[in-house]
Amino acid sequence: MARHVVARVDEIAPGGRKCITVDGRGVIVFNVKGEFYALSETCPHKGGSLAKGIITGLVESDAPGDYQHTRQGEIVRCPWHQWEFDIKTGRSYCDPRRMRLMKFDVKVEHGANLVEGPYVAETFKVEVEDDYVVVEV
């Protein structure tokens, strides 16, 4: 496990995402209403890339004909077979017990703290005065 600085905070707007490769592994960092979450890029079903998956709300229901639509922007669907994953937890909705996306811890750190290390930021020039997204992989 190492902490990787993957983006400047203002690089990923709310509702946006950034795909990165960390230690050869595809990771997607999502900004959900100002909070950052990181999930494995590869769908656990058959390997579709979530980079192009549409981001949606969650629909739940208590009865036939009932549609409770909440949590807009918090669900990502695989572009292939359309499985839904909770961006905040990586949990799938079609097989919550067995299928989830690997989730990584994300922190926002001030540049001043990062300059001290330990972190990996080969592709970044970390400025003391900015905020950064740090993923633990």
């Binding site: 009865a63 036939p64 499985w83 079609c94």
Partner: protein
């Protein structure tokens, strides 16, 4: 296990037996004067169905055909129940009430058929139970007929024919299910069609054999509809039995249903678990025909594909010619499963069997 146990039919509950209405004149006795006279005045013909041409091989096994065993309660008992020692037989009368276009006439014929079954079958042998023929051309009339017949606890099921105008999960049918659930009646969906449209999604086949084959395709539609429309969420005590359309088609259909659901959950969000799990709890299948190959050893693997062994209900499909002699179940079923299929599963499926 003794050989006897693996061969015995004692106490078996036969979930698909077909009494044949000898003629429309018999039904007239159970109609009010208007409908009875109408039959004569308008020259109403028998509502026979092309699903079972009178002399087609499947329609009646030769030995049953010979003495018209299916037209009389006593003869049916003698041909089927006595020699095997069956405990019960559930009568599914296939007089084609579902074909009628006029909902009032359909209701009159349904009443007549049900009363005929009650007086000339149920009253004549305590082993008989029956399905209510339901005139679902009108939902109100269907509910009324279910209510009327439900008072007699020997009616254990409401009968539908698989080739409906609309799939049976649609909410317009739900009042019927509400009544059935309240009365402890099971839903039975039998092979055949109302023939109000083509029997396949690609039109009318040339041969009877294709028509009969297609009834399992209509069953796919009915299972899909009942599950996805949420009928079993709304009526959690309800069970539906797919009658006389094979067993082995179901698992591959459930694989598809599950796979599609994983990608289309948002379309029917009330379905919050795998469709196959709902099927396991609510759908049952009768065993004649079974549609398994004769190769020994395969049957166990095929049954293993079903969500549960509890889903199988024994049926002879009398007088239809599914098999000869007493080969009424595919070979290779062990005595434990055999007892489940013959007795335990039917009892668990038809609550009224234990109260009446």
């Amino acid at each position: 296990m003794t050989t006897d146990q693996t061969r015995s039919w004692a106490g078996a509950i036969d979930c698909d037996v077909h009494p044949r209405v000898p003629s429309i004149d018999v039904l007239r006795r159970y109609m009010d004067s208007y409908w009875s006279e109408t039959v004569v005045v308008r020259g109403v013909d028998e509502f026979a169905t092309i699903a079972y041409p009178k002399n087609a091989p499947l329609t009646a096994r030769p030995d049953y055909a010979q003495d018209k065993a299916d037209q009389d309660a006593g003869r049916t008992a003698k041909a089927l129940l006595d020699p095997h020692g069956f405990g019960h037989a559930i009568l599914n009368c296939l007089y084609a009430v579902q074909m009628i276009r006029d909902e009032h006439m359909a209701a009159a014929f349904a009443r007549a058929v049900n009363d005929w079954v009650r007086h000339e079958w149920l009253d004549r042998d305590p082993r008989f139970r029956a399905s209510i023929v339901v005139p679902y051309q009108s939902i109100d009339k269907a509910v009324a007929e279910v209510e009327r017949c439900a008072e007699d606890k020997r009616f254990v099921q409401a009968l539908f024919i698989a080739g409906t105008e609309e799939p049976l999960g649609k909410s317009r049918f739900w009042p019927i299910y509400e009544a059935c659930e309240r009365h402890g009646l099971t839903i039975g969906i039998h092979a055949g069609s109302s023939y109000h449209h083509a029997v396949t999604g690609s039109g009318w086949p040339s041969y009877w054999a294709e028509d009969y084959a297609a009834s399992s395709l209509a069953m796919h539609a009915q299972v899909g509809s009942l599950v996805m429309e949420g009928v079993f969420l709304k009526y959690p005590k309800l069970k539906a039995v797919m009658i006389e359309s094979g067993v082995t088609w179901l698992p591959p259909f459930l694989w598809r249903l599950n796979k599609f659901w994983r990608g289309t959950r948002m379309e029917t969000p009330w379905i919050d678990r795998l469709p196959s799990e709902i099927v396991k709890d609510h759908i049952r299948l009768t065993t004649a025909p079974f549609d398994a190959p004769d190769e020994p050893g395969m049957l166990a693997r095929i049954i293993d594909q079903l969500p549960s062994e509890d889903m199988l209900l024994f049926a002879s499909d009398f007088p239809h010619w599914q098999n000869d002699g007493d080969a009424m179940l595919p070979p290779g079923i062990d005595s434990v499963l055999r007892k489940k299929i013959l007795i335990d599963n039917p009892l668990a499926t038809y609550p009224r069997l234990t109260i009446s």
